[in-house]
Structures are given as structure tokens and as C-alpha cells.
């Protein structure tokens, strides 16, 4: 029996393995080792107060008991006013932000603007995108006082960086032939922009506008926490007064509106693109 199967021992047995994501084995090991060391160090410096975390469960329970049932009625006036303020801020800031960001986007497109203008516009975008909306809101609240005006300014500024960056990238990736054709007819610079470039980027520009409207509403719910008006201010007040049932109602409303907005914005974006 054993003599009839000697050849099996000589066959090189290889097991097939799926291709790794990172090809070089050395890099793979260095990355894995580095990640392991980092994780150990980072978790070590986390300073978790486990006694406090253990207390968390009863606290969470009390919290959620406080949440239920959500109370829409007793503070409905404040909730409604906050929601309306958020909506005004969202719409006004999106429109204003887009109006300002169009020239910045044109200036930040390498194929349209000369180099100094390009760098200037790109640095505006970088500045606006670096800082979180809440940080900007803190400063605008200091400058313009509490209320929706500071929120409007914050969202406008944030819209500027987002919209100008994406739009200018769009302008940079247009089909040059059509723009050349318009230029060949002897069109002026403005005519070249509005007939050679604008039609090519318009569908995506509309899609981006709808997307930003959606983002701005979400952000408007947060910047209120630092005093910039809107539903966030109402939410913060509810938390400060330990009215968790009202806070739950506000959170549910925010989730509902955000889901609705995302759904509709998805449909609109699919239609225009």
C-alpha cells in the first residue's frame, strides 16, 4: 500500500493565497508592526477612568428613560422657532455662499485663471476648509453677536470653501475642445466663460448646490450649540435644562429632516447628472 504512493511526497505542495493589498512584504510587516506599537501606546495613554465608565450604564439608562417618550408638545413653540431659524439660515447661507464662491471657483481653476489669482483663490478655499464650522461659528458669534446672523455668516463661509473647491475642480476637468471652439469665434472672455465653460459644469454645479444645502442644514443643527442660532440653540437649551424628553424630540426631528433632505437631494442629483 505505502509503496504505491511514494510520488506524493515529491510533489511540491503549494497553497494558494489571495493577493495582498500591499505587495511588498517588508512594507506590510513594517506597517503592521507600526500599527501594533501605535495602538498599544495610544490605548495606554487614553487615560480611561473605568470606574466612571462603569457608572455609565445606569446613567445611560436614566438618560434613555428621560428620552422616552419624546416630548414634542410642551416646548413646541421653541422647537418650531428654532427649526424655522435653521431653515432660513440654511437657504440664505447656501445661496449667498454659492454666489460668492462662483468667482472664487473661476479664479481657482488652473485652466482659466493666471497663477497669482489661482494661488489667491486656492488659499481662500484652504482657509475656509481647514477650520471646523464650529470654530468659525465661535469667532463669528464673537464678532456679530449671538443669533442667526453669526450662523448665516458661518455657513456662508463654510459653503465658500466646499463649493468653490469642488466647482473649480470641475472647471479644470472640462472638455477643452468646446471652450476652444467658442474662443475661435472671437468671443470675449466673459462670453467664453458663459458659453464655453458654464454649460459644461452646470449640471454638477446644481447637484453640488443641493448637496451643500443638505450639509448646511445638518451643520446648522450644531453651530447653535456655540450660540449661532437655529435648532442647535434649542437643543442646547433643552440639554442645559435637563429636559431630555424635549431633546429627544428635537433629535428625532433633526434625524427625520436630514433623512428626508438626503433622500430628496439624492433624487435631484440623479436627475440633473
Amino acid at each position: 500500500m505505502t509503496a504505491s504512493l511514494p510520488s506524493m511526497a515529491n510533489v511540491r505542495r503549494t497553497t494558494w493565497r489571495p493577493q495582498p493589498l500591499i505587495k511588498s512584504p517588508r512594507l506590510r510587516w513594517v506597517l503592521a508592526l507600526g500599527a501594533g506599537i501605535y495602538l498599544a501606546v495610544a490605548v495606554g495613554t487614553l487615560d480611561i477612568d473605568w470606574a466612571r465608565v462603569a457608572e455609565g450604564w445606569p446613567r445611560a439608562e436614566r438618560f434613555f428613560v428621560g428620552f422616552f417618550p419624546p416630548d414634542f408638545t410642551s416646548r413646541w413653540d421653541a422647537i418650531f422657532a428654532g427649526l424655522m431659524e435653521s431653515l432660513w439660515m440654511t437657504v440664505a447661507a447656501t445661496v449667498l455662499g454659492i454666489l460668492i464662491s462662483i468667482p472664487v471657483a473661476v479664479g481657482g481653476a488652473r485652466n482659466v485663471a493666471p497663477l497669482p489669482v489661482y494661488y489667491f483663490c486656492r488659499s481662500i478655499m484652504a482657509l475656509s476648509r481647514t477650520f471646523h464650522e464650529v470654530l468659525i461659528a465661535i469667532f463669528f458669534v464673537k464678532l456679530f453677536g449671538f443669533g442667526p446672523f453669526a450662523g448665516l455668516m458661518t455657513l456662508t463661509f463654510a459653503t465658500l470653501g466646499f463649493y468653490a473647491k469642488l466647482l473649480s475642480e470641475d472647471i479644470e476637468s472640462i472638455d477643452v475642445a468646446q471652450a476652444e471652439a467658442i474662443r475661435a469665434t472671437g468671443a470675449s472672455w466673459l462670453q467664453w466663460l458663459s458659453y464655453g465653460i458654464q454649460p459644461q459644469v452646470l449640471p454638477r454645479a446644481i447637484g453640488l448646490a443641493v448637496y451643500r444645502l443638505d450639509i448646511n442644514f445638518r451643520e446648522s443643527a450644531v453651530i447653535g450649540i456655540v450660540g449661532a442660532g437655529g435648532i442647535g440653540a434649542t437643543l442646547n437649551t433643552a440639554f442645559d435644562r435637563y429636559e431630555f424628553d424635549t431633546a429627544a424630540a428635537i433629535l428625532l426631528i433633526i434625524i427625520g429632516i436630514v433623512m428626508l433632505a438626503e433622500y430628496t437631494s439624492g433624487i435631484i442629483r440623479q436627475k440633473v447628472q
Binding site: Q19, R52, A60, T130, F144, R218, L251
Partner: protein, 271 residues
């Protein structure tokens, strides 16, 4: 395309008169709605404060310059914490979002009727609550500190990673999956050899992208007590110590730019 008939022959126009009117009417409605928004906001604004903004800005500027450079030596620990909040939060979110994404994707979900809607609801609710609000809730539950920040980032990112990942899973090429199934592989084997290799690059890209966003988000979580450099920032703002605020803002600026550059590099290398 519309043509207007006149004595001198047809005149080409972009739209018919009716379409012209309806477009004009839409613009009218839009402009009216936006003006109403501006009106309501201006109604709620105390203009005296707004008009004093230039003086206020000049005042702030003069207090922020020169920045308190000596303070920067105290910022290493908060920056390290901020980095950890973003990184550990992202890792937790990735681990949690993988099963959620596989349950949410139409082609891999175990049950379309029951599991998929639950997974989609998890994704939607995680996405629609901002990480600052998550932090607000978690600080009450687990206490102030870095841990609350890590969890807040993780909870917010599950939805983001889950959504992008399940969209990537739904867009995979079916033929490798069918080929693996044809060998008689079990469903777990089909998943690991047919689906996972296809979404791996997209998934790595999504994680790095979210990590970059999380660095930005984790700089503010300290404002509600969830650790990181935001703690120092809110303390300095409350003490009206603007020269320190300037240093902190510069530190945030640098770290966000570095992380964005790094993430762009990694994503370029992946594709």
C-alpha cells in the same frame, strides 16, 4: 427650441413664450423665498452688534498678535490626544461598519426584508447626528475625557463608512462571485474570496478619507468636554486669553493640513 414666426421669416429662440414665463416665474419664487429668509434673519439680528464687528475684529486681532509661542510646548499632549481620538475612533468605526455594510448591501444581505432595513436605519441615524451631538450625549454617559471623544467619532463614522462601503459592495462585478460560487464554495468563502478582494481598495480609501475628516472633527470635541485640543481652546477662549487661542488655531491649521496631505497621498497610492 422654439421658433417665432415674424414678417421677416422665422426667428430662433431658446424657449417658447410659455416656457419663458414658467422659468421666469420659478426665478421669481426662488428670489422671493431667499429674500424672505434674509428678511427673517435680519429681523432676528441685533444690528448694533453686527455693525460693531470691524472694531471687534480689530480688537481681537490686536489681542491675538503676537501669539503666545511659549504656550505651544504645552500643546503636544492635547494634539496627541486629538490624533488618538480621530485614529482610534476611525478604527472602531471601521470594525463596526463592516458587518453593517454587508448587511445593508442588497447583494450580500442575509435578509432583505428584516436585516437590510435595520442596517440602513443604523447607517442613517449614525450619519444624521453630528459628532459634536454624539459627544454631548456620550460625555453625560461615560464621563468627560478622551474616551467619550473616541466613541463620538466612532458613532458618527459608522454611518459614513457603512454607507460608502455598502455602495461599493453593491457595485462589484458579479462574475468573480459566480466563479467562486461555481467551485462549490460556502457563502462565507464566497464572501472572503469573491466579494472582499473587490471592495478592499475602496474600503481602504474610505477609511483614510474618513480619518482625515475625523482629525478636523476631533479638534472641536473638547468644546463639550470630550478631550483633545478643543479643551485647551475652550479654556483659553473662556479666559479671554487670545494670544493662546492664536497658537492653538495655528496648531489646528497645521495638523489639519498635514493630515489632508497625508490622506491624499495614501489615497493616490491606493488607486
Amino acid at each position: 427650441m422654439a421658433v417665432l414666426q415674424s414678417k421677416d421669416g422665422p426667428i430662433w429662440r431658446k424657449r417658447t413664450t410659455q416656457a419663458d414665463f414658467s422659468v421666469w416665474f420659478c426665478w421669481l419664487l426662488g428670489v422671493a423665498a431667499v429674500s424672505a429668509c434674509f428678511y427673517f434673519i435680519s429681523d432676528k439680528t441685533i444690528w448694533v452688534f453686527v455693525l460693531s464687528a470691524p472694531q471687534e475684529a480689530a480688537d481681537l486681532g490686536s489681542r491675538m498678535v503676537p501669539p503666545d509661542w511659549a504656550y505651544s510646548s504645552q500643546l503636544w499632549r492635547p494634539l496627541w490626544d486629538t490624533f488618538n481620538i480621530a485614529t482610534l475612533g476611525t478604527i472602531l468605526a471601521i470594525v463596526a461598519s463592516i458587518p453593517v455594510a454587508f448587511c445593508a448591501a442588497r447583494n450580500t444581505t442575509p435578509s432583505k426584508v428584516f436585516v437590510r432595513p435595520v442596517a440602513l436605519f443604523i447607517i442613517a441615524s449614525s450619519r444624521s447626528i453630528n459628532s459634536l451631538i454624539w459627544a454631548l450625549l456620550l460625555v453625560v454617559i461615560v464621563g468627560p475625557g478622551v474616551f467619550a471623544g473616541v466613541l463620538a467619532i466612532a458613532f458618527r463614522s459608522i454611518g459614513f463608512c457603512g454607507k460608502l462601503l455598502y455602495e461599493a459592495i453593491e457595485e462589484i462585478d458579479v462574475s468573480p462571485v459566480e466563479a467562486v460560487t461555481a467551485t462549490g464554495a460556502s457563502s462565507a468563502q464566497t464572501l472572503t474570496y469573491g466579494v472582499v478582494p473587490q471592495v478592499m481598495p475602496a474600503f481602504a480609501g474610505i477609511s483614510v478619507f474618513r480619518w482625515d475628516i475625523n482629525i478636523r472633527e476631533s479638534t472641536i470635541l473638547g468644546l463639550v468636554g470630550a478631550g483633545g485640543i478643543g479643551l485647551q481652546l475652550s479654556a483659553s477662549i473662556n479666559n479671554l486669553d487670545w494670544s493662546r487661542v492664536a497658537v492653538i488655531l495655528l496648531a489646528i491649521l497645521v495638523s489639519v493640513i498635514v493630515s489632508e496631505w497625508l490622506s491624499a497621498k495614501i489615497r493616490n497610492a491606493l488607486t
